[in-house]
């Protein structure tokens, strides 16, 4: 029996091309099985080996299969003999003997074909499922993807696979993403990509198809209490609180329309921006119940002509543009770590020094790590020498935490520095909400879009000593007592 297959192999390897085809097919088949077994046993987890296993080997396998008949055809042309004559010279007469189940040779070919088809289908399924793993996306193209991989792993969506947002469902989406991926592979290997990668990423599926699988508009209701702490630069790193009641309703509750009104099924908000960054907005349109359209035009950009294909209907990502790959602001990053207790606030000037350590370089994470360590250690050695013995561990821990912050956020090879990518989920730096909600964006009567502070949030504290400063009784001796009273009233009325 074994001999029979050996004969077959020898018979098919008719010339150099045929032999090459045979070698390629067989060796890639065996290697694939070998690597796949190792992967199943979790011996191999590396994405590069995955690329070889799932992309290179099946391709070689197919190439080999194609070469075999090409070899046969060439041989036939060169010898001038017919297929029948050739078969007779290459194979044993017994194998060619016709029987009820077809000649033995035919059966062998059939068997191998079935194996080939099975192998290819299983391999391609494995390939697809391998490429669906976040690990593959994050680590296969290491230099390009490492910033996104680093930020993804600590994001609120770290348990949602990359492909769920970036590819979506259906054959169309799959083909699209694979074509895109092929180009990305070329541009990564030939170093054609931009640094940093420009955003927004257009291959992202429409958010109605992705985000809304879990977060659908009717789910946003009422208000959300959010408190921010920022620590001052003084010796005690004194905390200051800002507490907001974010009005995030979608407007289903009568009179309670909040921020998610923009994406309520019943509302359509359309806008045109100067360029693809969606940073400078030219006009915004809102469909009115009577079928008309209300337009707010940016007074400063009156003369710009807009092509209709450059307009967008607002959806989740127009505000939540960094829902996953969240790059932190350095100051907020330090504040967050202090609040979580990862950085010990009892260390004198720890806020100021931590921020200084993060900001003092733009370099690779190893050099930055040294700078951060030197910076904190030498500060305490110089100014609080007694502290080293007592709080040495806390200083070391702070150093480690800051190194991780740096490593996650700063990627010098990709030119990603602090705040390289804007985050539109607030109105820092006049961006985000203020792109449209500003005094230059006016209707035909020159009336601007409302940008009143209390339109979207009630303010219970703003860089205040206490988290609920403004709803506590206030003395008229307070310099800003008028503001306390105003905000208190607004808050109370907002729930009427």
């Amino acid at each position: 029996m074994k001999l029979k297959y050996l004969h077959f192999v020898r018979g098919v390897s008719i010339n150099q091309i045929g032999k090459l085809g045979m070698v390629l097919t067989t060796s890639s088949f065996i290697t694939f099985i070998f690597l796949e077994v190792l992967r199943m046993m979790k011996v191999i987890t590396n994405s590069y080996v995955g690329l070889i296993t799932y992309l290179l080997l099946p391709s070689l396998f197919v190439v080999g299969l194609i070469l075999i008949p090409i070899g046969w055809y060439k041989y036939r042309v060169s010898t001038g003999k017919s297929t029948k004559e050739l078969l007779a010279t290459r194979f044993d007469q017994n194998d060619l003997q016709k029987s009820r189940l077809g000649a033995s040779l035919v059966r062998t070919v059939l068997l191998f074909t079935i194996i080939n088809i099975l192998f290819l289908s299983i391999a391609s399924m494995r390939t697809l499922s391998f490429m669906d793993e976040a690990e593959f996306c994050g680590t296969a193209c290491h230099s390009v993807m490492s910033p996104e991989w680093a930020t993804y792993q600590v994001s609120p969506h770290s348990r949602v696979a990359c492909v769920q947002c970036h590819v979506g469902e259906g054959a169309g989406a799959l083909i699209n993403s694979k074509l895109n991926g092929a180009w990305q592979m070329i541009s990564a290997s030939l170093n054609l990509y931009e640094r940093p990668i420009p955003t927004p990423v257009h291959q992202l599926r429409p958010s109605r198809e992705t985000c809304e699988k879990c977060h659908w508009p009717n789910k946003f209701y009422g208000s959300k209490l959010k408190s921010f702490v920022t620590y001052q630069n003084d010796e005690k790193s004194t905390p200051l609180y800002s507490t907001l009641v974010l009005k995030i309703d979608d407007g289903e509750e009568v009179g309670k329309a909040g921020i998610h009104w923009h994406i309520n099924d019943k509302n359509t908000v359309k806008y045109a921006s100067v360029d693809d960054k969606r940073e400078e907005i030219i006009w915004v349109e809102v469909d009115q119940p009577d079928g008309s359209v209300k337009r707010f035009q940016n007074k400063k950009l009156n003369d710009l002509e807009i092509k209709s294909e450059e307009t967008r209907i607002m959806d989740c990502v127009d505000c939540h543009n960094r829902a996953t790959h969240i790059y932190e602001d350095p100051e907020k990053a330090v504040d967050k770590r202090i609040r979580k207790g990862l950085i010990d606030r009892s260390l004198p000037f720890i806020k100021r020094e931590s921020l200084g350590a993060l900001l003092s370089s733009f370099t690779d994470s190893e050099t930055a790590s040294n700078i951060i360590t030197n910076r904190l250690n030498s500060f305490y050695r110089k100014n609080y020498p007694d502290l080293l013995g007592v709080k040495g561990e806390a200083i070391d821990k702070a150093t480690e935490v800051l190194k991780t912050v740096y490593k996650t956020n700063i990627h010098v090879g990709m030119n990603i520095d602090w705040n390289t990518y804007p985050n539109y989920l607030n109105h820092d730096k006049d961006s985000g909400c203020f792109r449209c909600h500003n005094n230059n964006m006016v209707d035909v009567e020159n009336k601007p879009i409302n940008s009143d502070c209390t339109l979207c949030h009630s303010i219970l504290a703003y860089d205040s000593k206490e988290p609920f400063q403004y709803i506590k009784p206030v003395s008229s001796a307070d310099k800003d007592s008028a503001m306390h009273v105003y905000l208190q009233e607004e808050f109370l009325k907002s729930f009427n």
Binding site: L355, S360, T363, N374, S378
Partner: protein, 442 residues
């Protein structure tokens, strides 16, 4: 087995080698410090309190040189170079070096072909071109193999901001970041800039001191967090801006940049001011700085007033004077052939290079005295009572015809030869005269 032992041996050899490399560089650094602590205690102490010392950046890190470099010399057993160039600093501060490299500052050394340097060389002589021009602008560093540090005494010391270095880099970080403490506060203070940005031809320091900004700065310097690592205007300090604040430092939207000039729309340098490349974006960048403390309306008004003053200078004085000079030069009317060898060369030069710039800078940075008394006031006097009479001296019909037409037909100049005081006062009072200048505010 053979292969394995070869591998092990090479690892051991390489390991020892790199270990000894690290050892030897620490040894060199130690040796430098040992001598220099005694011989140049000032330099040692400045370095010792610097961030460089904190991060183990020692003498040899910056002064270490490759034997092949033209300014490298053997010093106590190590090849070093006295000159530390932006290329050296850029080994660590790569972004800053890159920004400096493309900045206007980096081109300052190219002034050696300019009128200023020409005047210093012909009217003065080489010594003053070195101590005057090149001390600020930077000179081309010359190699002298007989010099103890291989640098020619004519070009060392030199910390000019556009210094042309032997390694091909341009500039000198030290021009602003004074060695060897490289102190943040020092570079942020207006004094860092005012080594060069002062005097009759570009009195930025004096204008700043006169302005509200300067006044507030000198009053509140102690409250300005000037040593802070993060120094964002409006956030980390708010009492006043320094030169750095407006032209370089971080804002809520912009990062600190060493490419100065990215926030200025006009060039106020040449005889006739014009917009720089990408002028609108540059103005936006500056507006972003202003908005840290001012409202949009306040800021918008300032820029309208500033632009109108530059337009006034351009249209009323600079353009006609330049046209007249062109006629004179084209027709070869001047007695002596060399530039600056004739009275009118100096008069025209001072019109734009001195008083003309003072007026423009005064208006740019809110220094009313410089805009008017040291500025347009002097421009007026120069134009009507020095420049025009000097031009008329040639008794050339084309020059005279141009001047006559200007004084007769241009409503901005009609006051001079064709109106009485009472007529003019009346037209000021009823607003007629102001209408002449209406377009300058557009």
């Amino acid at each position: 087995m053979k292969k394995l032992s070869f591998l092990i041996i090479s690892f051991v050899v390489l390991g020892t080698f790199s270990f000894s490399m690290a050892q030897s560089s620490a040894k060199i650094a130690g040796k430098c410090m040992t001598c220099h602590k005694e011989k140049t205690p000032g330099i040692y102490k400045q370095w010792n309190k610097s961030a460089h010392a904190e991060n183990n950046v020692t003498c040899i890190s910056c002064h270490g040189a490759n034997k092949r470099e033209t300014d490298a010399f053997l010093h106590e057993g190590a090849y070093i170079a006295t000159l530390v160039t932006p290329k050296d600093c850029g080994e660590c501060h790569s972004r800053e070096a890159e920004e400096v490299g493309r900045s206007y500052h980096a081109t300052a050394g190219e002034i050696l072909d300019s009128k200023d340097a020409y005047l210093a060389h012909v009217g003065g002589g080489e010594p003053i071109a070195i101590t005057g021009c090149e001390s600020c602008h930077g000179g081309k560093v010359l190699i002298d193999n007989n010099s103890p540090n291989k640098l020619s005494s004519k070009t060392w010391p030199n910390s000019g901001i556009g210094r042309i270095n032997p390694d091909g880099s341009k500039g000198s970080c030290n021009a602003c970041h004074t060695r060897h403490s490289f102190d943040k506060a020092q570079a942020r203070k207006p004094e860092a800039c005012s080594k060069c940005h002062l005097g009759p031809d570009h009195p930025q320091k004096e204008v700043y001191e006169e302005s509200k900004h300067g006044n507030a700065y000198y009053t509140h310097l102690d409250e300005m967090n000037i040593n802070a690592d993060k120094w964002v205007v409006g956030i980390d300090y708010y009492e006043a801006p320094t030169c750095a604040t407006c032209h370089m430092s971080a804002t809520r939207k912009q990062k600190v940049t060493h490419d100065v000039g990215q926030r200025i729309k006009w060039t106020l340098r040449p005889p006739i001011s014009k917009f720089k490349d990408n002028a609108n974006q540059k103005r936006k960048n500056m507006e972003d700085v202003c908005l840290a403390c001012h409202t949009e309306r306040f800021m918008g008004g300032h820029f309208i007033q500033f632009d109108a003053t530059v337009n006034l200078y351009n249209e009323k004085f600079a353009k006609p004077a330049t046209t007249i000079m062109k006629i004179i030069n084209k027709k070869g009317l001047k007695e002596r052939k060399a530039n600056f060898a004739n009275d009118i060369d100096w008069i025209y030069w001072e019109l734009w290079h001195h008083e003309g710039r003072r007026a423009r800078h005064g208006a740019a940075m809110m220094g009313p005295d410089y805009a008017w008394w040291h500025g347009i006031y002097d421009v007026i006097h120069n134009f009507y009572f020095e420049f025009l009479p000097a031009a008329r001296k040639f008794k050339d019909k084309d020059v005279d015809a141009f001047i006559d037409k200007l004084l007769k037909d241009d409503p901005m100049h009609q006051w001079f030869a064709h109106k009485t005081t009472s007529e003019l006062k009346k037209s000021i009072n009823n607003g007629e005269l102001q209408k002449v200048y209406k377009n300058l505010f557009d």
